[in-house]
Amino acid sequence: MLSLRLPIPSESVLASVMQRPPRFLNARNQTHLFCSPTLSEPKALQSSTPQATAADVVTREEEEELNDGTTPPEEELPEGLRRELMPKHVAVIMDGNGRWARQRGLPPGAGHRAGVESLKALVELCWRWEIRVLTVFAFSYDNWIRPKVEVEFLMSLFENVIQSELDKFAREGIRISVIGDWSRLPESLQALIRDAEEKTRKHSRLQLIVAVSYSGKYDVVQACKSIANKVKDGIVQVDDIDEGLIEQELETNCTEFPYPDLLIRTSGELRVSNFLLWQLAYTELFFAPDLWPDFGKDEFVEALVSFQERQRRYGGRK
């Protein structure tokens, strides 16, 4: 999307932007029966560079307009988005790094590194557009069965990213929380996470929740265990167990907004894969055909536009 404040774009930029057909107009009526391989492959096979150029141009221009201070002025949202309908909590399943790398003949590590860049860009957008919570599915409990080499690579990637981004988070008021079964993570990573959580605990502009070694079912079971212990100790009666009590014991109790308004899953797969099961009860789901490293500002805007068009009824009538 080109803002009116931009200078007239050069031909190459225009051409690359025009290559993408405006899909979000049809998002509401789209038959989400399947994302056919023929639909998603050509898009992904287009090298990511032309799209990155367009996004970069837009981002750089907007950055120049910001003050140098840590609290930027209220940013104008892209065309088509309404501020009052912005979701408070967005969740993302960052799927498709492996496929992205394979398509380019690169090792899986390159895909994950590209994925990290995508994530950094998304955090930046959420921060600017005042989304309060962003939860990302970085590593599932089910992913431990992947090859040892890949798992070790991912663990060291997490460590590097936390170390390099911690200062930025501190500067920009981003709070980082990590949910999942920490016990399986390497000691050094555990220490780093504890430290990062402690340092950013008081920040409140954006909360970034990273789900590592996480499983939705495990989350509910651990909530159940702690409730059972409370019952055993007489703190709680069995009859007092209700939805509110379970909500308080889930790992998402680290945030004021535990229930995502919008869940985005990239790479065209149409499933939730054991992520935030309880919390997704009324979440609007958006399935993007792009692979995660290709998911940029345009795709995020498309998801937000689709979200803003939906009627959320929570079981009642309009």
Binding site: T31, I246, R271, V272
Partner: protein, 295 residues
């Protein structure tokens, strides 16, 4: 009258041809893996009525016909379990006259199910009503219990009707039951130990700690949906892509489809599409399942 008769014969022949073609199509699809369990969120009845300028109730009635024909297709295809989201606990928030209408409609249709021409006899169905049945009014509750009892020996296929149901309610119920059961399980050995003169303190605490662990299997055992395997496909009509508190636990790895068609408009081509896509991702999902089991 002759034209009426030929008209009647023509439509019979046409109907027969359509059935024959459908059976052929299902046989072709059945050369690949068939999902064992399909779940439906039957959304869009009211919008259908509005679209065709019908009275509001007609949308739900059309929805029921759609349900009967969709069930027929599923069981013909060889699907063993079908689950439908008939009424959510959140739907009690609607206007009382609407709620009453829906409950009366369900009562009427539940009684039809058992009739001669009903689905139960046609497909040898066992029917479960899933959810917090205590929230139902007396007549509906009685009818529901009657149907469950009457069909408990049927084995060919299973229909699970979720009413009134929400996933969070199901999980709360499972957690409560697990706590209750664990407490009972613990009390017996502790009491025995104390009766046998074991001193309180370390020994009893260790016993308590061993038994007090609640695991995944304990919670799953007490889920209402524990009577069926997890769904292989979840289909929500009317184009909304959300779960609305339906089978959150059971759809952790289940492909989700949301065709734009409203529930009364959903037909065999949407089902075929969903099954074909299930077959496409089947090898990957099966491999994942096997890996998890072997872990």
């Amino acid at each position: 009258m002759l034209t009426e008769k030929t008209g009647g014969i023509k439509s019979l022949l046409f109907g027969g041809l359509v059935t024959f073609l459908r059976i052929c199509l299902f046989k072709v699809i059945a050369t690949g893996p068939i999902p064992e369990h399909i779940a439906f969120i039957m959304d869009g009845n009211r919008r259908y009525a509005k679209k065709h300028n019908f009275a509001e109730g007609s949308g739900h009635k059309a929805g029921y016909s759609s349900l009967v024909s969709m069930l027929g297709h599923c069981y013909e295809l060889g699907v063993k379990y079908v689950t439908v989201y008939a009424f959510s606990i959140d739907n009690f928030k609607r206007r009382p006259d609407i709620v009453k209408f829906l409950m009366d409609l369900m009562l009427e249709k539940i009684e039809l199910l058992l009739g001669e021409e009903g689905l139960v006899n046609q497909y040898g169905l066992r029917i479960y009503f899933i959810g917090n049945l205590k929230l139902l009014s007396e007549p509906v509750r009685a009818a529901v219990e009657k149907v469950m009892k009457a069909t408990e020996n049927n084995k060919r296929a299973v229909l699970l009707v979720c009413m009134p149901y929400t996933s969070t309610d199901e999980i709360v119920h499972a957690v409560k039951q697990s706590c209750e059961n664990k407490r009972r399980e613990i009390q017996t050995p502790v009491a025995t130990k104390l009766a046998n003169g074991a001193s309180e303190g370390v020994e009893v605490m260790m016993e308590l700690r061993k038994l007090a662990n609640i695991n995944l299997v304990d919670v799953e055992k007490h889920m209402y949906m524990g009577v069926a395997p997890d769904p292989d496909i979840l289909i929500r009509s009317s184009g909304e892509t959300r779960l609305s508190n339906f089978l959150l636990w059971q759809t952790a790895n289940c492909p989700l489809y949301s065709p734009a068609a409203l529930w009364p408009e959903l037909d065999i081509r949407h089902l075929v599409w969903a099954v074909l896509n299930f077959q496409r991702s089947y090898p990957y999902l099966e491999k994942k399942k096997q890996k998890k089991i072997s872990e």
